[in-house]
């Protein structure tokens, strides 16, 4: 009996979620958002009007995020981007009920210890930004151009594995997308496979 109720509730919640929030799609305006960063400051997409923005979904406990941080690949990509004037926002959408949850201070300490070069790290514990963008995995990368259009959504690179050694031979999609955007070209590969652990929304 309770199993049926759970099933029905789940089905309803799925229907509700899918009906309520149609996820962002490439070529359309990027959904606006506003959240607190790890130091408690309010950050919103509108703050960066006229600038290219990269969103990176992160979860320090996920082996695939670790693959890119342990190999310094993510930090290097962040540094390349910010040096070109791009705004890099790391987003943590892990819900408080999940074992991977990190408090803002813990997240700040982790990003510092990793030598990350993000402009800000946003705490999205209620999953609002994640759902608006349809973020499914950690890592999941999005690029928004200066006009506010979502121009890239997908993985950081094209080798779906947990092995840090694969980073060297993989094609970095974010670097390629940023090169296209900043040169005024259409992004050659606007949507790619995002691989990793699932984003830990509520009820995960």
């Amino acid at each position: 009996m309770s199993k049926n109720i759970r099933f029905v509730a789940l089905a309803l919640s799925l229907a509700f979620t899918s009906a309520a929030t149609p996820a962002a799609s490439v070529g359309q305006p990027a959904p606006p958002f506003s959240a607190s960063d790890t130091s408690g400051k309010a950050v919103s997409l509108a703050d960066f009007k006229g600038r290219t923005v990269v969103l990176e979904w992160v979860n320090p406990e996920c082996p695939y995020v670790r693959k890119h941080y342990d190999s310094a690949n993510m930090q290097a990509t962040q540094k390349t981007a910010t040096a070109l004037g791009v705004v890099w926002l790391s987003v943590n959408s892990t819900h408080a009920s999940h074992v991977d949850f990190k408090r803002p201070a813990e997240m700040a300490a982790w990003t510092k210890s990793q030598g990350a070069a993000a402009t800000a790290t946003l705490m999205d514990g209620d999953g609002k930004i994640g759902r608006a963008y349809g973020a499914r995995t950690t890592p999941h990368l999005y690029v928004i151009d200066a006009k506010g259009t979502l121009v890239y959504a997908g993985g950081i690179d094209d080798k779906a594995s947990a092995n840090p050694a694969d980073v060297k031979s993989a094609k970095n999609h974010v670097n390629a997308a940023l090169a296209d955007v900043l040169a005024g070209r259409a992004v050659a590969q606007p949507v790619t496979r995002a691989y990793g652990c699932s984003v830990k929304y509520a009820d995960s």
Partner: protein, 703 residues
Amino acid sequence: MPLLHRLLLSLVLGLALPVHAAGSVVTTGEVRAELVADAPEGVAPGKPVWLGLQIEHQPQWHTYWKNPGDSGLPTTLTWQLPAGVTAGDIAWPTPKRLPVGPLMNYGYEGRVLLPVAIAVSPAFNGNALDVKLSAQWLVCKDVCIPQQGEFALSIPAQASTAANRAAFDAAQAARPQPANGAKAAAELIDDAKTLRVSVSGLPTALHGRELAFFAETAGVVEHAARISTRWEGGTWQAQVPISAQRFESPAQMQAVLVAPGATAGVQIGFAIAGMWPALAAPPVPPAATVGAAATPAAPAIGLPVALAFALLGGMLLNLMPCVFPILSLKLLGFAGHAHSRRALLAGGLAYSAGVVLSFVGLAALLLVLRAGGEQIGWGFQLQSPVFVAALAVLFTLIALNLAGLFEFGTLLPSGLASMRLRHPLADSALTGVLAVAVASPCTAPFMGAALGLAFTLPPVQALSLFAALGIGMALPYLIASAWPGLARAMPRPGAWMSTFKTAMAFPMLATVVWLAWVLGQQTSIDGVAALLAVLVALAFALWAWGRIDSGRLARMAWSSAGVVLLGAALAWALPSWREANAAAPAPGADARWQPWSPSRVATHNAEGRSVFVDFTAAWCVTCQVNKRTTLGDAAVLADLDARRVVLLRADWTRRDATISAELTRLGRNGVPVYAIYKPGQALPTLLPELLSPQLLRDALAGP
């Protein structure tokens, strides 16, 4: 504990530890994975041999299916086999839905066996088959742990290995069963946001039951979204939502349908009808270059350049045989007004106004219709046989008037006739409108990309582009009317005018011949004969009406006879023009060219062959020119044969929604369009509208 005891204990423990590297079992905190085999008749060519990875998950832990869903990765197996032995792909058992908050994954819990068929060739000889397997899997609960294992197994060749028979049987039973006799079709609807799937011929045991849909290809379907399904008699229908961040655009797909509680699902395969839109909207970069072989992914023309090209294109339209007779008709007006400068200029402006307003009006109508969802492109008027026939009748009317069979004055009541004369401006404007109506389908060179751009622009900009086209077309006439010097250079009125007037009837009649040919392509020889009959009846009716030298009664009798005859001819002709798809014959039995369809292109590309598609229509003059010159050139055809290029023709003479959709996808709005679809490329290379052999060769040779 005394030292000796400690040493003994560690020795015993050390010996008791399993040696992972060489065994057939790998155990982690979350799974127990074992390499198992089934070879009931030993290992020899032609004997069934199966290997597999059996995974026993700890409670609540799971691994993934070939399409893992929103996150996760499928288990991968890398085999090391002796010479002559090859392993196939994993024969995935039917997966389970694994919801994770608002996301959805597909995979396995509990115990699962991933079987792989082994092919043994005569090259294998040995007493035992030594297998090494390197496997990687992602096992998740609320956290994810990527794991891997090295396995080794030795299978005797002459003995029977059937210890795991039950597990392999269960795995085969859990495999999605091929649906024999089932017919599945899928179509993209709702702007490619939904995939409408319908399957008939499914096993009767499934009829009426709620089936879960598992797409085998990742990156297409919105996995977590609800799929609305229903049964209509024996046909199962589903509306499958497509992912907002889709990264695959398959031409066909396979899926598994699973009834609640069933261990095995049914596997269906379907082609996907409809076009996948480009993954992202292309930007409009500031630079403006219209390259010879511009790819449509980014229409590289800015608005000002597009306007300039539209102007030029409009001017060129005056040279088209569909327009020239009308223009020459206006020259007559010149000769009559050469001394009244103001009247001349006013006439010129009225003509230009008529032309521009017609273009803008057509464009507005097109935008409205497109917003209404109809798949219509530029030139749609000439795709309707009734319209073509009506135009032929009108042109014949004008030709007969020019030839002197009747005068407009005698046809109409004197009031109307003099009204016409008193409003030469309205007459000029009407001439402009007529000119546009016939010229519109002839998309001249330069206009193709501009037209395509117009429909990606906001309505105001699109309308201004069409206005520029109109201005270009009216410009030569307007310039001539504004500079009296030029008009005065024209010959003065005289006897030559009536000769000139009669002579102008012949280009008109030539246009009627062309229209009759188009009608023949759209309908049949019967349609053309019907048109000719109507034209004869028309000529008779006009002659009857114009008989001013008879008495009133006689005239009425002749007129009635003429009207009756005309009515009868039209009544007989209209059905043959109305028949939708009435035996629309392929233009010429040219075996070289096959009819185009998107799936044909995909099939040939999959074979590694390039496909050259000729988007054409009978009423498109530029198309016919190219057909007779470049596309009929023996050297060009030989070159195409040598490169094994498949030639497909998309005939847009009559309305075709599929062709219209493809033209839109390529950023074009009229014909001709010449596209080369190369294997592995998402969008084809487009060629300019006037072909040349060198151009074609260069495009084929390019990347």
